[in-house]
């Protein structure tokens, strides 16, 4: 009886397989991003950027580039499946993605076995590319970002810090740890660390405790939806200290949810923003192109990273002179001073893009780019 089921399964899968076949006159680039689920807000922004880049450069090596987009649903099992399908069924030459480090790690195991190069968009956890030959990323990593946040608040006069961390978020606990390490190294004091779990909406108990410890700064490396509510509740409880966050706070909706309460809030992010005072030519071009394509949405760092990820892959294909995965992988590893919207990109030994960390602040209800920080590690 067991085998009846097996045959049935095989048959069904074969029917599915018939739907897709690879042809040689196009170059197929897979995109796996969270378009639904908890991380959908980030995935959708990045997809906008990837699509825009694809429209700008629809061909490479004289062949058309085809984008195959698969939703990884903010879920690790789905992310592994999505990667599996891109490689096995869609026969992609390279993959772009994803937002969310845990998703990238699940997909990375698959691409590593298959030997297909992947360009991570904003998966900032150090473990994503660790020991991987084929996984790269267009963003900096959390130890770097956490250190930059610590450097920034310390240089601005904060000597006592508190943290409020989501214990169920890998991103949050990782970034918190790197902030703590650097802040202590600089000579600051961490007065208290409190926790909550994703999905919780009431932080008043934790915040009341934190306020009683009277820190100079509160570091909350949360996702923006929770972050905005934390800041709002902190202000309602009379918090006077500065509040600092990470790149997951970089979202246009942030201001709408937080309202007046998030005035003065600062966060680290990728070094691109439409409000940047000094833009490179490329950044100006991107901003213009964005306005033309999405007049009712602001351009943002995540979309810029999606854009850069696509361009990095195309650049590597050009330099390799082929779309062969091994050759592209080799070319990607040799990427040096590639001009991107989020700054110049050089792949280091661990396949992370070395670029400065941007700092943004909410002023007058708008996100304002303050400058960049290179932490002293």
């Amino acid at each position: 009886m067991k085998y009846g089921r097996l045959i049935l399964g095989v048959l069904l899968v074969c029917i599915m397989a018939g739907a897709a076949f690879a042809s040689e006159d196009v170059i197929r680039i897979g995109v796996y991003l969270p378009l639904t689920g908890q991380m959908a807000f980030g995935g959708q922004l990045e997809l906008d950027g990837v699509k825009m880049a694809h429209e700008a450069v629809p061909e490479v090596l004289g062949k058309k580039v085809e984008l195959i987009v698969i939703d990884n649903k903010s879920d690790k099992v789905e992310a592994a499946n999505a990667m599996q399908r891109l490689i096995e069924k869609e026969k992609v030459h390279a993959v772009i993605g994803t937002y969310g480090s845990s998703l990238a790690m699940a997909g990375g195991e698959i691409s590593e076995k298959a030997g297909i190069p992947v360009m991570g968009t904003s998966c900032t956890n150090p473990l994503v590319t660790q020991g991987k030959k084929y996984y790269f990323r267009a963003c900096f990593i959390d130890p770097f970002q956490g250190a930059a946040a610590a450097q920034y608040v310390f240089d601005n006069g904060s000597k006592k810090a508190a943290m409020l961390l989501d214990v169920a978020s890998d991103y949050c606990v990782g970034l918190g740890k790197f902030f703590e390490d650097q802040f202590k190294k600089l000579g600051g004091e961490l007065v208290t660390t409190l926790n909550y779990q994703s999905g919780d909406q009431d932080f008043t108990a934790q915040l009341t405790e934190i306020i009683s410890k009277n820190p100079d700064v509160l570091f909350i490396p949360s996702y923006f939806a929770e972050g905005a509510i934390i800041i709002k509740q902190a202000k309602e409880l009379g918090a006077k200290f500065m509040i600092m966050g990470g790149d997951a706070m970089d979202n246009p909706e942030m201001v709408k949810i937080g309202g007046e309460a998030i005035e003065g809030f600062a966060f680290t992010t990728f070094p691109y923003d439409p409000s940047m005072p000094e833009m490179s030519e490329l950044q100006a071009q991107f901003t213009e192109a964005w306005k033309a394509k999405y007049p009712d949405k602001d351009s943002n760092a995540n979309s810029a990273l999606g854009y850069d990820s696509y361009m990095l892959v195309i650049d590597a294909m050009k330099r390799a002179g082929s779309a062969d995965p091994e050759a592209v992988t080799k070319a990607l590893a040799e990427t040096k001073d590639f001009p991107g919207v989020t700054g110049s990109t050089t792949m280091n030994a661990t396949h992370d893009a070395e670029k400065p960390v941007g700092i943004k602040k909410i002023e007058g209800g708008k996100q304002v780019f303050v400058g960049t920080v290179m932490p002293n590690l």
Partner: protein
């Protein structure tokens, strides 16, 4: 801990607890009458919040009509859910209806993701609710006083309906013995639809209050508060309307006070409710104020 801090924690707990109470009342009402744990309650709660969001932001309605419309629409949704997913299972084993309600819950959640996307949306708060009252170091939100008042009024109203009106009498009869009630000439399906309508209206009302306190709506916003409120209902004695109110407040106080006195355990905050649930189920399954459930043989 200073006195001011304790008072602050007290009011934090009052706000959270009274929100739990509000959701729990609707939960307990449906359970009390049908003995059905309505997993979809938290999702009707979410729908209510979304309806208000659309009413005020997309259609620019003033607050009061938006809220009334949202409550009516959610109430209708609840009746629809009962008609489609629960009524055909009245004679089936009780667990079938429970599984059906889990299915409905996932269905509404995922449909909401498809229709409204998974992105959290900001809710605009009316001006009168944003002012903060300050007494020394203690800061109190208007909602902290508004929500318990609403809960209290709703409890009184429901008790009146259940104990003093004809439909209420029928509801109580159904909870004792559905078949006999049918034989007595009561239109059982109508009364149950009314129960779901009322329960869903309560869910929507609490969803709206929740969205005012934590000003955003998203498709999964109902699942956590739903679980917590269910626990509150069990704590107070499931089926007992007064019990749900007390249970909700108690749960809010326990959650806040454990973090207040043992900050090191703050990461476990979400587990407290479940631990409490299991303890209550083992020690006093009827809850603090519940009637004794008789095992039918």
């Amino acid at each position: 801990m200073s006195l001011a801090m304790f008072v602050q924690h007290f009011f934090n707990a009052l706000t959270l607890g009274s929100l739990y109470s509000l959701i729990a009342i609707g939960y307990t009402m449906v359970y009390g009458i049908l003995r059905l744990i309505n997993f979809a309650h938290g999702d009707i709660f979410m729908l209510g919040a979304y309806f208000v969001f659309f009413g005020t932001i997309a259609f620019k309605l003033p607050w009061l009509p938006a809220v009334l419309l949202a409550v009516a629409a959610s109430s209708f949704a609840g009746i629809l859910v009962d008609r489609i997913a629960y009524r055909p299972l009245r004679d089936a084993p009780r667990i079938s209806a429970l599984i059906s309600s889990i299915g409905v819950s996932f269905f509404i959640q995922n449909l909401a993701i498809v229709l409204f996307t998974g992105i959290p949306r900001p809710v605009q708060q009316p001006k009168i609710l944003t002012g903060i009252m300050q007494f020394g170091a203690v800061r109190i939100l208007p909602l902290t006083l508004v929500v318990p008042t609403i809960s209290f009024v709703l409890v009184l109203g429901l008790l009146w309906i259940v104990n003093k009106t004809k439909p209420g009498l029928a509801m109580r009869a159904i909870s004792k013995d559905i078949e006999t009630t049918r034989l007595m000439g009561v239109s059982v399906d109508k009364i149950i639809a009314l129960t779901f309508g009322l329960g869903s209206a309560l869910a929507a009302a609490s969803g709206i209050m929740w969205a005012l306190r934590y000003p955003q709506v998203h498709p999964l916003m109902g699942s956590f508060p739903g679980f917590k409120a269910f626990i509150a209902a069990v704590l107070g004695g499931i089926g007992s309307i007064q019990g749900a109110m007390v249970g909700g407040l108690l749960l809010g106080f326990i959650e806040i006070m454990i973090v207040a006195f043992l900050p090191a355990l703050s990461g476990y905050k979400d587990a407290f409710a479940f631990v409490l649930l299991i303890i209550i189920l083992l020690v006093k399954p009827t809850g603090l104020m519940g009637e004794k459930l008789e095992e039918k043989v």
